[in-house]
């Protein structure tokens, strides 16, 4: 039995309605309990800001394309390297760190749960291998369905139950958590070098539209009672004028679930562009947030970019090729048979580029213009917009108008007219930040019941204690203290163990992987469907029996079983 008694914590726990209360937290065997014995280890939080462990609901840290980002970038590996130290392994890399690098740096920032944003089912085993080597965070994997042939066939037949059955089989085979659609239909078109330009355009050879894929998958997702909603990377990412596609997409989303959103729209900054060319691109954050503010069924995340060099990596293969044609740097592409695509290129976001400055402003505008912080979560689509180590700076910018003004003064000319950022007075408070970095994620991902994102009795004891005294720091003026404070926790506690102190990992990790075993009626089990089996054996290059991820790849797997639908 291990016990910890955290005393004098200044707790913000939005899910339980606690906002800055000085209190004790008691932990036994990994969970939060009513009380502990006198033998408990005592941590004096000294009235420092204490939050549930951070949750990233959209990051790229593990799997085929992340590793390829490392593989092709020795220049980045050199850019961030640390020696073996105590329990810490060697790390390499700055914007695409090695698995241990990701894990240690996230832990130092108080993050204890991560959702990998894109896993191709065929390559799921790889993602899970890297999860095991990312030991200090619990992991979940968004599973890609955007170009899934069996899904598109079922969508064409307007068969929601069949769509759900394919999703259930695939999620279980891949040990995945939820449905991810990346440029739905577009990744299949990219198989022959094409892309789609709108949600009502037909996917070549499959006679379905992105809109049909999205709406059918939403219905299937709710039919299966999956904990998370459909998680969507909209069509037309990164193209001037794409905000209309984004708005059209939001407009077709029904409100189907009282407990959470019906659609999670990711990295919306990349989808909120006005204009028609790179010359006249402008911010449409106001239009986007107006839509989101009136639609409780939608949650988005920022997709904030930060200036500097990073790596873009996404399942959106055609988008990456377009970007490559602009940047003329190295380009990797990796299409996955019957399922999806992917692309990788390095980029540098520069303050000298008006386009980059507008992108930077849009992300912040989205957060500041969204009324309910549960509807706009903080992330960078790591590493696409910026490596996650920049999160503290983003927090600083959101909490301080002065910081934003100072930054705005250094931007390329002409940016002010094309965004409204400089006019926004709003400064987010500690509670907003707590929502946007953990509570909102827990709710959106549907893991509150798994004991995530809050500090209630019975919750997983994932806790971050930051060296910040909210009663004595004025974030509007002292934003540097805010940024520094969020960079390194005093303590990161993961499942009841102190894993990180003042930025250093002090124990070996023992994370868990959450996956969803969605139940379907007997007659809808794809493993018994002769047509599905036949097509699988004909067109995949692995045998169906070798496709599912074996349990050995999830040494601490946590299966979430859903109720069978009728």
């Amino acid at each position: 039995m291990t016990e910890i008694w955290v005393k004098n914590a200044c707790v913000i726990d939005p899910i339980r309605g606690i906002n800055g209360e000085i209190m004790d937290i008691t932990i036994r065997d990994g969970r939060i309990v009513e009380s502990v014995s006198d033998r408990a280890d005592v941590i004096d939080a000294q009235r420092c800001l204490t939050l549930p462990g951070g949750i990233d609901s959209h990051t790229h840290v593990s799997g085929t394309k992340v590793n390829f980002g490392r593989y092709m970038s020795p220049e980045d590996m050199r850019a961030g390297r640390t020696k073996r130290k105590g329990k810490m392994h060697v790390t390499s890399g700055y914007y695409v760190p090695t698995t241990f690098g990701n894990s240690y740096r996230y832990s130092a920032m108080g993050y204890t749960t991560l959702l990998e944003g894109a896993m191709a089912p065929l390559e799921a085993r790889h993602t899970h291998e890297e999860f095991t080597a990312t030991p200090h965070q619990d992991m979940l994997a968004n599973t890609l369905f955007d170009g899934n042939w069996a899904v598109m066939d079922a969508v064409r037949e307007k068969d929601i139950r069949k769509t759900a059955a394919v999703v259930a089989w695939t999620l279980k085979a891949a040990r995945g958590y939820g449905i991810k659609l990346t440029n739905p239909g577009g990744t299949e078109a990219w198989g022959f070098g094409e892309d789609l330009t709108g949600i009502h355009e037909m996917v070549p050879h499959f006679a379905v539209t992105p809109a049909e894929i999205i709406t059918t998958m939403i219905r299937a997702n709710e039919l299966l009672k999956l904990p998370h909603s459909v998680h969507l990377h909209c069509n037309n990412l990164g193209k001037p004028g794409n905000y209309q596609t984004t708005l059209e997409t939001f407009d077709i989303v029904p409100d189907l679930n009282p407990d959470r959103q019906t659609l999670y729209a990711t990295h919306v900054q990349f989808h909120a562009y006005g204009g028609g060319t790179w010359k006249n691109i402008s911010s449409k954050a106001e239009e986007i947030t107006r839509s989101v503010n009136s639609k409780p069924q939608i949650v988005m995340d920022m997709g904030q970019i930060m200036f500097g060099r990073t790596m873009t990596m996404t399942a959106d293969g055609p988008m990456e090729f377009n970007l490559h044609c602009l940047h003329h740097n190295k380009w990797s592409n990796h299409d996955v048979e019957l399922e999806t695509g992917s692309g990788i290129i390095p980029v540098t976001y520069s303050k000298k580029s008006a386009v980059n400055c507008i992108m930077w402003a849009i992300g912040l505008e989205l957060a500041l213009l969204t009324k309910n912080p549960y509807q706009c979560l903080l992330e960078t689509d790591n590493p696409n917009g910026a490596p996650f180590v920049k999160y503290p700076e983003i927090i600083g910018l959101l909490m301080s108008k002065r910081y934003r003004d100072e930054e705005c003064a250094t931007l390329a000319t002409g940016v002010e007219q094309r965004t409204s950022l400089c006019a926004l007075e709003r400064e987010l408070d500690w509670h907003d930040i707590a929502v946007m970095t953990r509570a909102g994620q827990a709710k959106a991902l549907g893991i509150i019941n798994q004991g995530k994102g809050h500090l209630g009795i019975g919750a997983e004891a994932d806790i971050a204690i930051y060296p910040i005294r909210t009663d004595s720091v004025d974030p509007a003026r002292e934003y540097r203290k805010v940024v520094e404070g969020f960079q390194k926790t005093r303590y990161t506690i993961k499942r009841g163990r102190v894993v990180s102190r003042d930025g250093d990992i002090i124990v070996d990790g023992a994370n868990a992987t959450f996956w969803v075993d969605a139940k379907v009626p007997e007659d809808l089990r794809m493993e018994n469907d002769p047509e599905f089996i036949k097509r699988f054996e004909q067109f995949y290059t692995v045998r169906m029996s070798n496709y599912p991820v074996q349990d050995v790849y999830l040494p601490r797997g946590r299966r979430i079983e859903t109720e069978v639908f009728t």
């Binding site: 390829f68 020696k83 241990f100 390559e123 790889h126 022959f192 996955v336 290059t541 045998r543």
Partner: protein, 429 residues
């Protein structure tokens, strides 16, 4: 007993549709496999127990003794080299990296003498590729450049390319155009619709010529480029540009000949150029069954696919300096651990010779040329035969190798783990 859907661990194709007939703990029949698969499973003669070289010959020793002495050799070394890894599973590779980190060793895998130059090129310009099923289902143009799949990857053409029935290519033999580029007229060249025979070391020039033609600059091309006629080059460029989906597979004919990684860079840039006209992908034909897995494991653990030097505490990578052949050639390492590979046979003599001058330990199921150069050889399971584990196919698809029979050998991961624990003062990994 028949085992279905068995994965052959021999080459980077990792065909997973084999049927093995097992009787009394032995594999008696292999179905669906090629000649290489059949010999891998059927003709699997092992070293019976650990051996140590003495003044007078070889003596059998126990596993405990062999492991203890290996740990002592590594512990006592100033600059140990850990090499090989490509014929075992990721679980063993991963422990190998941990050992290297712990003792400040150089760790390198067999891609160093295989597709190492391809990796260098990819690090310069990236890699437009795909999984093999994309090629099978879509490609109407296939190019084999500097490779000979009939000999090295015998089922590549029937499973993934030339003869494979694909969704958009239902009549593969008629609908696919196959181009073979080589200095030799190989058996693979014999089945090509177009065979391009180039002069020795002419690849770079021919690739440049094709790039120029694809860019609309045919006028600058002379009548012959490295032995290839301008007419043929123009014809090839046209076939590529009008393809619906083209796939280039290349082999050691590009990585090992003059120009090395610059040849690959040029081929990738040709692929990039062709993507402005149609869809084109390029992929190396990886040799050893899990050589790509060694690149993957090394990369997520250290940041680099091969040639990683931990001597300075951090992971350091500089091919040409931290690559196995160079370290041996310079006589730099003072101990070596060779796992699942045979540098004795596959390295130039001067490099191999250094292995005999230093204490070298081999962990491998089979007696090989390196055995003769070693001080200790510890036999172990063979991944995919009597050990399960992860392997990565040449296109990055991870596949679980199966344990088909039990022959009573310890898994190499288990042996390595014991070595690690000893090196770590008895503490568990």
């Amino acid at each position: 007993m028949i085992e279905h859907d068995v994965v052959c661990p021999f080459c980077g194709c990792l065909c997973d549709d084999l049927e093995l007939v097992c009787e009394g703990g032995k594999i008696v029949k292999v179905q669906n496999g090629c000649a290489l698969a059949e010999s891998t499973f059927m003709n699997d003669v092992r070293l019976p127990s650990p051996i140590r070289r003495t003044e007078s010959g070889w003596e059998d020793i126990s596993y405990t003794e062999a492991i203890k002495e290996t740990a002592e050799i590594l512990q006592g070394a100033d600059r140990p080299l850990l090499y090989g890894w490509s014929s075992t599973h990721g679980e063993a590779q991963s422990i190998g990296v941990h050992i290297a980190e712990l003792i400040g060793a150089v760790i390198d895998n067999t891609s160093t003498v295989c597709h190492g130059p391809s990796i260098l090129a990819i690090q310069e310009v990236g890699h437009p590729g795909c999984t093999l099923g994309q090629v099978k289902n879509r490609a109407d143009v296939i190019i084999y450049w500097g490779c000979n799949p009939i000999e090295a990857h015998p089922r590549h053409m029937s499973r993934y390319t030339t003869y494979a029935t694909g969704f958009f290519v239902p009549d593969a033999q008629r609908e696919r155009t196959v181009i073979v580029v080589d200095t030799r007229r190989t058996d693979t060249a014999g089945i090509a619709d177009e065979f391009v025979q180039i002069e020795h070391s002419g690849d770079y020039a021919v690739l440049s010529a094709l790039r120029a033609i694809v860019r609309g600059k045919a006028s600058v091309i002379p009548a012959k480029v490295a032995g290839v006629s301008k007419e043929q080059l123009i014809r090839i460029a046209e076939i590529c540009k009008t393809a619906k989906f083209g796939a280039i597979f290349f082999g050691l004919g590009l990585t090992m000949s003059r120009g090395k990684y610059k040849n690959i860079r040029n081929a990738i840039e040709l692929t990039d150029e062709l993507n402005r006209h149609t869809k084109f992908v390029i992929s190396p034909l990886r040799g050893h069954g899990n050589v790509y897995g060694s690149n993957e494991v090394f990369t997520w653990m250290t940041g680099y696919p091969f040639a990683v030097d931990f001597a300075r505490g951090i992971a350091f990578y500089n091919p040409g300096e931290t690559t196995a052949v160079d370290i041996l050639r310079r006589g730099e390492c003072d101990a070596a651990l060779i796992v699942a590979s045979d540098p004795g046979a596959n390295f130039p003599r001067a490099a191999a010779a250094h292995l005999a001058k230093i204490p070298t330990v081999v962990i491998d199921p089979h007696v090989n040329a390196t055995t003769a150069l070693s001080r200790i050889h510890i036999p172990c399971t063979a991944a995919g035969i009597d050990a399960a584990g992860t392997a990565y196919r040449m296109d990055g698809v991870p596949i679980r190798l199966k344990k088909v029979i039990d022959r009573g050998y310890p898994d190499d991961a288990e042996i390595l783990k014991k070595i690690y624990d000893r090196l770590n003062g008895g503490k568990e990994l």
